[in-house]
Structures are given as C-alpha cells and as structure tokens.
Symmetry: C2
Subunit: 474 residues, 2 copies
Amino acid sequence: MPSQPDRPSVAGVAVQPREDGNLSARIAVSATTAQGAQLRTEDFRGWLAERGRANTFRVDRIPFAELIGWSFEESTGNLVHRSGRFFTVEGLRVTEEDGPYGDGPYAQWHQPIIKQPEVGILGILVKEFGGVLHFLMQAKMEPGNPNLLQLSPTVQATRSNYTKAHQGGDVKYIEYFVGPGRGRVIADVLQSEHGSWFFRKSNRNMLVEAEGDVPLLDDFCWLTLGQINELLREDNVVNMDSRTVLSCLPYPDTGTGALLSDIELLSWITNERSRHAVRAECVPLDTVPGWKRGESTIEHEAGRYFKVVAVAVTAGNREVTGWTQPLFEPVGLGVAAFLTRKFAGVPHLLVHARVEGGFLDTIELGPTVQYTPTNYAHLQGKDRPRYLDEVLATAADRIRYEAVHSEEGGRFLNAESRYLIIEADEETAPLDPPPGYAWVTPAQLTSLVRHGHFLNVQARTLLACLEAAGVRAR
Amino acid sequence: MPSQPDRPSVAGVAVQPREDGNLSARIAVSATTAQGAQLRTEDFRGWLAERGRANTFRVDRIPFAELIGWSFEESTGNLVHRSGRFFTVEGLRVTEEDGPYGDGPYAQWHQPIIKQPEVGILGILVKEFGGVLHFLMQAKMEPGNPNLLQLSPTVQATRSNYTKAHQGGDVKYIEYFVGPGRGRVIADVLQSEHGSWFFRKSNRNMLVEAEGDVPLLDDFCWLTLGQINELLREDNVVNMDSRTVLSCLPYPDTGTGALLSDIELLSWITNERSRHAVRAECVPLDTVPGWKRGESTIEHEAGRYFKVVAVAVTAGNREVTGWTQPLFEPVGLGVAAFLTRKFAGVPHLLVHARVEGGFLDTIELGPTVQYTPTNYAHLQGKDRPRYLDEVLATAADRIRYEAVHSEEGGRFLNAESRYLIIEADEETAPLDPPPGYAWVTPAQLTSLVRHGHFLNVQARTLLACLEAAGVRAR
C-alpha cells in the first residue's frame, strides 16, 4: 500500500447507488395495471382504426426497373441507392466450423444480405400517470407489415433521421433520447437485428423516463405495460421494434436461483462463441451461387429462404407522395418457440446458441426453435432441425403463449412468424440438454440483455412476451 | 394469465443462487495473504532465475529472407506462413467518423495489422491451500519479452495448441479448462487483444478452481494473490496474458456507490459506440500507403508507430531446436495511465472510450492516457493528445502505481509501456469530464469485464494492478 495520505474528496459531490432499487418494482406495478390512465384498452382498437383512416397508404409490388433512385451496380450486381444512403443489398459468403474446438463439421453458404452499417435509435418514452409508468407508443405504417399499421416505439429513427433532427429536423420526441435535455435512462443498449438478413446491423434500444409534461401528438398514445402485454397476445399489433425495446425492461428478479449460476451461464456462452469459427464476408451480389435475378425478384433456385423484391409506397396524407424501395420477403411463415420447464419450481427457458451469418460475434442466443418450416420440408429423419417437429406437433394444452408477429416492416415484406412458448417435459427436453442448448431463467435473460449482442431479435421478442405468457417467476 | 395448472416440477432437481456469495470474499482473503503456502515470496526470484537457467533461449533479428516457412504473398504482399496457420500480416484501412451523431470529423488511416482469427485460451488454475486461494503461474519464455522469461498463466494456448491437446497433445493442465472434467469456473470471457496491432483478435480469459490434487510440474508455481500483487509492482515480471486474466477476477464490491449508476454508465458506453462510425477493412499489405518494406523491416515513413521485423529463436533445452517468426516492434516506450480521484470518499478512474482499428465493435474503454509519446513529439498545443502532458509531468507524490510491463511476447518485440495510476484533482481532471471520458469505480469495471469487449487490454492491465496500487474501495 502506498504511504501518502488520501487527497481530500471533492466537497458537495454525492455518489449514488449503482442500481435504482425502486425501478424494477415500478415496472412490475405497471405490468399488473390492466387499465391505463390515458387510453382505455377497450378504446384502443377504435383509436388504432381511426389512425389507420387518417393515414392511408398503398403498397404495390413493382419490377426492379421501376425503383426510383435504386439500381444494380454494374461491377458487382449489388442493389444500391444513388445517394449512397439507406442500405445496399449485397452478397454474403459464410464459412463455419463447429465441433468442440471449432475443428468439427464445416459448412459454407452464400446468400443476399442487407448492409446498413449505421446505428439507429429505437426508443420508448416512459412517464408516470397516477403513480403508474405508462409507455408512449406510436401508430405507424410500414410498407412490409401485412396490416400496414402497427404499434411502434415512440422513436424509430435511422441515424440519418436523427442527425437531421439534430439540425432542426422532424423526428418527434427525439430530444427525450439524445442531447443534454433527455430524461432518466431505464435501458440503453445496442442489440443485433436479424442475423440471417442483415450484415452486422445493430440498433440502439432505449427506454427513457420523462420528467415534466410531455405533449401528446397525433398517432401517439400512452399505455401501461399491462395494456401492452394484453396487446402482445394479439397477432400483428405490437411491431418488432417495440418488442425488442420492451425486452430490455429490467423486470424484477425474484431471487429464486437457476440451474446454472450466472458465471456458469456466461462460461457456456463463451464456450459456444469459441467453438464456432465463423467467417462472414460481403461479396458482389452477382457472384452469389444458387440465387437468380429476375425482373421483379431475386430468389433462391429451390424457392427457399426469401426473395428480394421491390415496392412502391403511396402515402395519402403526406407531402411526400410516395417512395420506392427493395424489401426482403421470406417464403413462408416462420416458427420461433421457447420450450419452458420448471426446475425446483423455477421457470426456465431452453435457449439455443445460434450462428447467423450477419452476427457481429459468431453466436447469439435464440429461441429453442427458430425456423421457417417450408425451408426444411425436403429433409427427413435426423437431418430435421432439432425440436422443430416437437414444436409443430405440440398439443394445445401445452401452449402457454402463441401469437403471430411480423418482423421490421421497413425492410421485410410479410415476414410473419408464429411465436410460441411451450411447456416441455423430460422426454421432449431433458434436464441435461444437447450441445448448443442451455436452460436459463427469465431473470438471467433480463441480465444478459442489458449488455447487448447476447440475445437475438427473435429471443428478445419472446422475452418481451414472457409477462404476457405468465412465465416469469413470482 | 393462462388458466391451465402448472405441470409438476422435476423431482430432486435443485437450483442454485445465481451468484456465489462466498467467492469474492475468498478472493479478498487471497489478496491480503502476503505469504504463500507453497513458494515464499523471498524465494521467488531465485526460483525464477533457476527456471531461466534451465530454459536457455536466444533471440536474434534476421532479415525476412531468412524466415523459414514465412514469405510475402505475391499477389498481396501479405506476410504469410506456408501452412496457412499461425497468423498473417496484412494491411488495414480504417475510416472513422466522430461527432455527436457520427457526423463529425472524418479520419482515415492505413497500417499493417496482424490477422489471427482463432480464439486462444488464457487460463489460470486456482486451488486452496490452507484455506487460501493460490494461483498456478508458469515461468515462460517468449521471444518478444525484453527479459525473455516472465510469469504467464497456467495455460496460454492457441486453438491449434489445444485442439491438438484434445487429441492427446501437450498443453499442460489444459484438461482443467476444457472438457467434461474441468474445475469450477470463476471467470470465462472473451476479451480483445491490442486493437492497434491485431484485427479483431480475442482470447478466452479463464480462471478455474481445481477440485482435488493437482500435480506441480517444472516451471510452475502456486502463488497467492497477495504475492502476485507484490510482483505486479515490479517491472516485467507478470506477463500480459497473466494480467488480462487476473483483471477478470470478481473482487468484492464494497457497495459504496458511484458517480454514474450502472445504467447511466452503460448508456454512456452505448452512446460512445453509436457516435463513432468506424469501418475497418483488411487490404493487401503492399497497397498500404506511408509504409515501406526493407530487407529486415516494414516501417512507417516518418519512423512512427511500430516496425514489422523477423527473429530466429534458439531454444537450448528442447527437441525443437528453434523457430523463426515475424514480430511487431513498437518504436518507443508507451504510457498507459489512469487518473484517479475520490468522490464522496469513493475512488473513481477516468476511462477513455477509444477507437482502435482492430476492435470488434468501434470502441472499448481504455485508460485515461494510452500513447507512445514519441509518435506525438511533432505535435504542438491543442493537437497534443489530451492528458498526455499532464501525465508525463506528474510529480512523484501523486503516483500511486508505476511499473513497466511488456505486451504479449509471442507477437510483440520489446513492447514496453509505463503503467501508471495517478492522483488527479479538479484542475487536471474535472468532475465533469470532456466528451469521450467518464469517471467509473473499480467495482463497475469489475462488473463490465465479465461481459467481454468492454475494456481494452491496457485498461485490463491497470485493473489487474488496482489492488497492488491500493486504489480499490475498502
């Protein structure tokens, strides 16, 4: 130990506890508040429908040649915008070595991928009314949504959006999330988007509590978590951006323990990251084997996975009369499911360490099952993806949660998945899971999701739905 | 809530607490145990010298033409091994946009970089003797160390090493870290290596507690944390791999709070990650401007940064009579320093969100100052790196910790830095720090380092030295 005396502390400077002991209890209160102080749940449908009438939109498929500002770059075949902004569709080559030490089975594949290197903000503003936290949600049209209009976060802005906003632009409520006057941060973390469709895309997921009055603008409404959780049980109401932000909420840990301690869980994740050697490189789109480009679609030779298509959007009530853009359109309805079991009375979920070509760091934790069944219809027996057939054959009385949700409607067309939480037993999902799978508690997922790039976007959707499913420990 | 009853729990399955409440106290005990049960501190020097005599090595500089198995690839100029193994020296092009929204100043640079995509294991085995945790350290020669022999972790293995080990190879003690029979995990996390010299290199940092007897092999010794901390106050004894592993130790949090709550700190990090847009791409080494290749070195035109050189290693006591390899040799002594202040009696460190071209995700937290002063000797006034001159001019009575340590001797030749922890005051380091800097507590750094890619390797060295510096809260 050094011998010199401590220098004096700064007068009047206070430190604070590292955690706000009150916050998770306030979140729990909002989750059990079924009726909002602002918009009643029974009035919500009417309000959303009214917003739909006030914001008329039309989306039409068009051939690539009718895209305005977009074209296939001559030297690469990449689909690009002439401004260099927005995103590009390029090729991706992925090589993967598995095995206990990354020295096992070798796989390689090629695919089109969306490259959009900028970090956007997905933010939900939170405020107390009558002592209960309410969340400011927005009725927002996105061209890829099957029903166009869904509930989005308060702010859903690309960096170009909010940079412009900073210069006096038009992203509503952005000032609550960036800059000196912002509110009290509840969550703020970079999370991955779909690793099968995006190359290393991440967005900033934020929840911020406002201090003082907040003006309520058209297309926005305040809802309690209890109300949102009720809407999460319906198909295609709460959009993906909302779900991923909500997954970052610090729900309380009831302190009931877990099969794996936290360090055992982190060690398992580290091992999964280490044993998968993944190399993903962008390549010219016109060099991608197995995919063919037509006048209106780029598609896989066997009709699997997804198509790249183009749409024209006509907005009825805006200065902007419309725009055109490419979208990715999956070929079938996806399935994303957590198997759940109680061990010593504590609910656990079976996570899967998934490689997706666009992830920043080899693997993230996904649901037990995450597949588009039609892509695997040609496979038999042991080549079938693990747990998929069990999930597809689940009896109704074992389904704790089921809803169809769509993925980000600004990039994906009709990208719907059945999200499920299913009770399992020792026969279907043993206590000692196969390699690549682990049993974790909801509280452990809530701790992991604070740090980013641990849970993929499908797992985050299901994490956001746990309260709606009644699967959290009490 | 669903109405079906809960299915029965599995009989006889127990959950455990998420955290081992005892562990950090046991670490604190080891840190205050100045004398080991195995090797006395006063005998350590003699033991290390004896190990040096038993392991004689010679390292000679050679021209690139005398490298065996290594050559400059014709089409790219990259320096590669004919087996495709080990690592390559390639070019890197980095573009960076800063500013509040990544729309600010723009910088671009080129440099040589080491590409070694595989994940190695750095592991220290831990075991109780007389109720006190001891750490199994190895006397290990590395060609780049100025004094060749330093204390390394129990295991320091590339993936090729331990894959071979798995097949019956020769990495000593590896079975305690991988595979079914391994011990109880204390830490296990992927951490970055030097982002200025390595392209996205990470290693698995592990601490594992052995159960049962452990044979003590030549070149190994058991030391308490108190003994290791004493050695950390000396120059060039504890090697970089040991320091980064030790930085992952879960030292106890005394619960005294912090200037920023944890979520405010995470939010600040997320903001720093978002506002820096960094694009780093490997390019052919012979296209890198500003660097010239001679017979024995690749160096910067102005003599700055580092040189790529080649050495021949002759091992006196081995079957392997020797090998040749390239190394990176920095041009001068580096300085890595944390400024520290107490706020409300709680020690804080001033971290810097640093962009290094080889980082996986834009920024990691580094020390307040991390520069090689000779690289900046040509700069004046406001172009000088922030805090550098204050650190270089520090009066002796403000230095809480000072030692010269070297970086990884398997890749870097004579890469020494002065590591410092310096008491600051409101004048040199105000309570409200400039953009890119934040005050955090040692306990907060210990929480962050669990999750990987938050602290760079220099900050981790200083974190490992905090106990030696007496800067942790009590």
